[in-house]
Structure formats: C-alpha cells, structure tokens
C-alpha cells in the first residue's frame, strides 16, 4: 500500500528511468549521500554529479538531465555502483540516460553517440570491431585535424602493426544480422 501511494508521487522521468533499467526500481531509495559523486573519477568534469542527477530525476527535470554531459563523462568504472549504500545500479542508469538522450535528440553536445554508432556499424557489418581503429576512423572522417594531433603515436601504432584498417569478418555474419534485426524490431515494442 505504502509502495502504491509512493508510486503516485514519482515523477514521470523517474518512472521512465526505472522502466528502462534492470534493477532500476531501487533509484527511489537514493539517500543523497553523495558517495557516488565523491567516488567518480570524472565527477569534477560533470555538469551534475550522479547524486545531483538522481535528485533531478526525482524532481522531473528531464530536459536538464538529458542535455547534461554527465552520462557522456561516465566511463563505466562501476566505482559508484559498488559503493552505493542503497545498491542502486548507478552505472546502468548512466547507460539508460545515454539511450534516452539519443532517443529524444538531446545528445547534441557530445561526440560519444557518433563514436558509438561508428563502432556498432562495424559490428553490424563484420561481426567484429576494434577499439583503436574506431576512434581513428571516426576522427578521420569527422575531425581530420585532431588526427594530426595524434600524429606520432598513431603512426607508431600503425608501424607496429597494431592499427588494422578493417576488422575481420565472421563467417556467419548473416546469422548475427538476423539476431540484431530481430532485437531491434522487438525493442520497438512497448
């Protein structure tokens, strides 16, 4: 009963975050203790710390949160998650916020979504990818000037055979694509 009357007070934004995150129901238990922000290696670079983000989610400040750089500064190190006294899956919620920001067209300020797409495009086509080549390819097409900055290191990596230009292709790429397409289709439901 208590839970139901509680639920009536939840902001729409909070309900959406909860629905989109496995284990996300726990977010209502946030104590605002600040352990997460204090632990975060990138806390200082974030527009709002994770703690502040949870307060803003409760206050339904959807626009401000989805436009913030917070989740794009998250590197999924899980330090906040293992320290949270309420066992809130903070890192997973950061992924949820990334997805929401992309879906709702609020992720304009970050290169990260384009980088992510470059990466997954490779996987969609070949079944394989590579961390270093992604950035290079992305920079090459989108920010050629910053490629120059990479200069020496990029070239040395190339010379040492550590920079492949295309990924290997798996044999059953069609099978993988069928799985991906089905998953995409199913994720449009509900």
């Amino acid at each position: 009963m208590v839970a139901e009357s509680h639920a009536a007070h939840l902001s729409q934004f909070m309900k959406d975050v909860m629905a989109d995150t496995p284990g996300g129901q726990k977010v209502v238990h946030c104590l605002q203790c600040g352990s997460c922000g204090g632990s975060c290696p990138n806390g200082a670079e974030m527009d709002f710390t994770p703690r502040a983000v949870f307060a803003m989610i409760a206050a339904d400040r959807r626009e401000a949160v989805l436009k913030a750089n917070t989740m794009w500064q998250c590197v999924s190190c899980y330090l906040c998650t293992v320290r949270c006294p309420q066992e809130i899956p903070i890192t997973e919620i950061m992924y949820t916020l990334k997805r929401m920001a992309i879906r709702e067209g609020k992720a304009g300020g970050s290169d990260a979504p384009a980088l992510a797409r470059t990466f997954t495009d490779f996987v969609d086509r070949y079944g394989r990818s590579f961390e270093f080549g992604i950035a290079t390819r992305y920079l090459l097409f989108n920010k050629p000037l910053s490629m120059l900055k990479m200069g020496g290191a990029g070239m040395s990596m190339f010379a040492k055979g550590r920079l492949a230009l295309t990924p290997t292709k798996i044999r059953q790429v069609k099978q993988l694509q069928a799985i991906i397409n089905k998953a995409k289709e199913l994720s449009k439901e509900d």
């Binding site: 496995p22 998650t81 980088l115 992510a116 270093f132 492949a164 990924p167 059953q172 799985i179 089905k182």
Partner: protein
C-alpha cells in the same frame, strides 16, 4: 571443466601481444583453451549506450555458441569479461529481457540457457584453477629484483567478478610474488584508466592516465602489469602525449601480465609479443633480471 576462449577483437590486432603471450603461457602450463568458433564482438560499452536489447542479444550469441563440450568461457579483456558475465546474469534474473533475447537468438537459429556457461576472467583461471603450486613448479626465471605494479582497472574487479575485492584486489599481486617479483603496493591499482575517454575529452583522459603513471612512478615501479587491452593502450600509447601535456618524463613500460608470466616460465621474449609496446619493455626487464643474475654469480 573444459575451457572455451573468447579473445575479443582487441586481441586480433591492437593487442596481439596479449593474444600471443596468453597462448604461449597456456601451452607451457599444459592447459587447454579452445577458441570459440566464429565469435562476434561483444560490443564493448557501445551497444549499451544505444539499445539494451541489441547489446544483450549480440553478447548472448557468443554464450550460445559455446558447445556442449565446454562449460567455461574465458575472456582476457576486461570489457568482454564484464559484458559476457553481465549478460548471463541479466538473462537469469530478468525474464522479460530473456524472453526477447530468446526470440532474437532464435532468429539466428540459436538458443542459450542462462547459467550453462560460466564466464571467467583469464586471471581467475590462472590463479584459481591452475594455481600456485602448478605455476611455481614451472618457474625457471624468477623475476627477482623486478618491481612490478599490478594494475587491475575497473571492469575485471567491478561490479560482478566474485573472485577478488572490488576496490583492493590482490590476486595479481599474489601471483607475482609466486614468480619472485617485488610487488609494488600502490594505491591506484583499481582506479580507472579512462576507458574510451581519450576519444571524448583528451584532457580528462590524460589526467586519469597521469594519476596512474604518477603513482606507479612514486612507488618506484619498473613496469606496470595490465590485463586489459584498453588499459594497455591508454597507458602505453598515450604516455608520450601525457608527458607533453603535463611536462612529465614518465617512461614506464606497460606490459600484459601474461608476458611477464611467460618470461618467468622461461619462454623466449619474442614468442611473448614484446616489442609491440611503444615504451620499450625489453631493456628494462633484461637490465633488471641480468643485473640480478650477475649479482648472484659474484
């Protein structure tokens, strides 16, 4: 227990040294590790930022490809390890997601029952399953005199690993004491190297990398041991840029733990992929180990 091996994309090119040294070490220890046939990329963190169901399905394909003869899936890369493990857990605990992933897999003619495969990080397998006695018995070149800084990073120890402390892990430390090395107990061994931050904001990334290098240098480490291609890439490839940026003079070789384990087992350095790193490791290692031998024969 029979082990299938999931190398991950990084080990195919950017981190061939890891792949080579894993294979050499496993062979020397007389252990079987069968590469998973036709595995696909785990997607790193990139599908999770876009579509969770696709992320999970792409990873689940790999779990489904493990045949009946194997019950363990071993990953050397931090991100792959966490992704595979996280997906297995998600499928076991979230029936709604599992139902959809089942349908997606079925579109490719595959099935997977959560929990059928146990996902393990390579360190766990070497430490726990092969273990101290078997490894010690094969050491022919003790790493005496070499000061190593074990680096765990994030995703091997957090949040799910279940084999070591998430903030103060010790397994790699212990393994290198078996090998006779001087293990440096420095405070940042499970801090973050920034992952793909170098591509998002270089300055932030450089600062994260600098903290790691600084701490290892403060504790007079000869080299840093790592167990993830991304960590190696960040600390090795960007070390020069970090030096330029902060006006520092770090010159710390960043090597895979399997490379140094291989040296201790007496495997030729060429077979362990040395020379691919940008901050050269061989001179440092040879200098230390030969110095030791010379001192001993005196």
């Amino acid at each position: 227990m029979k082990y299938a091996y999931y190398p991950g994309c990084s080990l195919e090119s950017g981190s061939a040294a890891y792949d080579k040294s894993v294979k050499a070490v496993i062979e020397q220890l007389g252990f079987g590790l069968d590469e998973l046939d036709d595995w696909n990329c785990c997607g790193a963190t990139e599908y999770f930022s876009q579509n969770e169901l696709v992320a999970t399905s792409v990873i689940a394909r790999n779990l489904a490809l493990v045949d009946d003869r194997h019950d363990q899936l071993v990953a050397p890369c931090a991100a792959c390890f966490l992704n595979l493990k996280k997906t297995d857990k998600l499928l076991a605990e979230q029936p709604k997601i599992r139902g959809k992933v089942d349908q997606a897999l079925a579109a490719g003619g595959l099935r997977y029952r959560p929990g059928r495969v146990q996902v393990r990080h390579l360190l766990d397998v070497l430490y726990t399953d092969i273990g101290e006695q078997a490894i010690k018995a094969k050491v022919v070149q003790p790493l005496t005199g070499l000061r190593v800084a074990p680096y765990y990073g994030c995703q091997i120890v957090r949040p799910l690993n279940g084999f070591d402390n998430p903030e103060y892990p010790m397994k790699l430390d212990e393994m290198f004491t078996w090998l006779g090395a001087e293990v440096v107990d420095y405070p940042v061994k499970a801090h973050c190297c920034g992952g793909h931050m170098t591509q998002i904001s270089e300055e932030n990334a450089f600062e994260l990398i600098r903290r790691l290098l600084q701490s290892a240098a403060d504790y007079r480490a000869d080299l840093i041991l790592c167990m993830c291609p991304m960590c190696q890439l960040n600390m090795d490839m960007y070390q020069g840029r970090v030096n330029n940026f902060f006006n520092t003079k770090f010159k710390l070789p960043i090597v895979y733990f399997t490379q140094m384990l291989g040296v201790a087992l007496g495997i030729d350095m060429k077979k362990l992929g040395f020379g691919k790193e940008l901050v050269a490791a061989e001179p440092v290692i040879r200098g230390k180990l030969e110095g030791q031998t010379a001192a001993a024969t005196k």
